[in-house]
Homo-oligomer: 294 residues x 2
């Protein structure tokens, strides 16, 4: 079997098109403020991607840079100001933050009404009860990608490799959303004793471990759907020349020979995640303008 | 192997003793208001258990009964009144509620500051980030029971049979709390294709399916720890006489021959769940009195 590529570009484009259309009906453009504390290069590249995506759909994007020496109190004070600013419709904080700052405290200080990443405790708590509108972007992107190929998850064995509170854990809850049509999810992570035993029996493997080549073809069941959330920067040497490239957590070539579908990295989950973020920005802005009017 | 009984009475008594001690230092006793809409017999028996447990530790317990014809709006209005009443420190709603009422809307209307069951979206959302103090009672009771036998969950295979938003789903998150010492949890439910395949490979089986005798000894791995959350009322005929008795989801006799530990029903998880509820009442009352003082 040679897997089909489950690309993110079509899904991402269709989400962005809808977001652009919705935004064109708003009284004014949404305004997203993204905080970057320190100067992490990964965060900076992501900020650039975000800026251009925002521009494409009509969202005002503002990157506010704080020096790495910023205290947690200063950062939270600034977030509280943004919470109360009627001209700001969305807020997010880039990770990583410097070691002396507790990331979770920053997240908890963002009003759930402006939490475009869908990761504030109040928005996350809604995941237990219904298909809340503002949900974490990456797991939502994974669910949309699976839906985009009309894959029926009912009763399937799904192995999620991530216990992250913003990827693996909310993904488990999203997978369990339906009363009768849920798959049986297993959550693997660094302490899992025999990872291959789990991936080998899985109809769907979703991996977000941040470890290049963690999943090889021989660890997969024939025909599995494989969703690669990993983004890893690796060095490659070819003809004596060194170069850096981005790869996922899945060993692409070997997995392509076993899986039925495989998301590429880059060009898979990441693209859809950005589109879902814009969707959240738009939804929160819509609610924001409705509150201002009422 | 003959399993040891993992009884709830010792753990429950020790929690209640601590709660009683804590409450004795409060400026006044906590006051828990429990709403019962309709006249479900199960809820009524549970209310009686709760009343006597509250009395034992010094909590004022008030059962407010509404007729089954109560509208959702009336119920929510009443909850909002309780939210604003400085003399009320805790609120809960008995289930089931009549069909015309959306249970989740009632739960969402309870202030997270008085949510003694730990099931409001805001309290549930904290489960993603840390060991929040106010958590759903049944999964917390399960975790405490496992801890009480010094069982090391790190890397173990845990099968949870429940996708309920107040049992199975929060339990998954609690199991995944630790960075390096989490087990590998799988969530089985009604749509799971081969339940026995999962229970047979599990080091720990936690079942809350509400189905008597769902789990038999031959479905278990030798030496498994088995936590039975089910409470089922069944009819039994002995010597021509019919009687009703309470059983769990596990076929007790056959499981006792295979498991290493097994919680009895009644006398297992249920007892500890009630104690955890009192613990939540006490914690929220403590915070309530602190707010009044400040």
């Amino acid at each position: 079997m040679v897997a089909k590529q489950l690309e993110g570009k079509f899904l991402s484009a269709s989400i962005m098109q809808q977001v652009k259309k919705d935004i064109s009906c708003f009284p004014s453009p949404p305004r997203l403020v993204s905080l970057l504390i320190g100067s992490d290069s990964g965060a900076l590249s992501y900020a650039k991607i975000q800026e251009s995506a925002c521009k494409a759909v009509g969202i005002l994007f503002e990157l506010v840079k704080f020096p790495a020496s910023t205290s947690q109190e200063e950062a939270i004070d600034y977030i509280v100001k943004l919470n109360n600013d009627p001209n700001v419709t969305g807020i997010m904080v880039f990770v990583p933050v410097p070691d002396h700052i507790d990331k979770n405290s920053l997240i908890a200080s963002i009003s759930h009404l402006k939490d475009v990443e869908g990761i504030s405790p109040t928005n996350m708590g809604k995941l237990f009860y219904d298909n809340s509108s503002i949900v974490p972007c990456t797991p939502k992107a994974v669910m949309l990608l699976i839906k985009s190929i009309d894959y029926d998850l009912a009763g399937k064995e799904v192995v999620v490799i991530s216990r992250s509170p913003i990827i693996g854990q909310p993904l488990l809850l999203m997978l369990l959303e339906s009363t009768n049509k849920s798959p049986t999810p297993t959550c693997c992570h660094i302490a899992t004793q025999n990872l291959a035993l789990h991936t080998k029996r899985a109809d769907v493997v979703i991996v977000a471990a941040g470890k290049a080549n963690l999943i090889h073809g021989e660890m997969l069941k024939e025909g599995a759907v494989v969703i690669d959330v990993g983004i890893n920067l690796v060095e490659k040497e070819q003809n004596g020349k060194k170069s850096r490239l981005i790869v996922g957590d899945v060993h692409y070539d070997s997995a392509m020979n076993v899986a039925s579908w495989l998301t590429p990295v880059p060009g898979g989950v990441g693209l859809v995640t950005t589109a879902v973020l814009l969707q959240n920005v738009s939804l929160l802005a819509k609610q924001h303008f409705a509150r201002l009017e009422s």
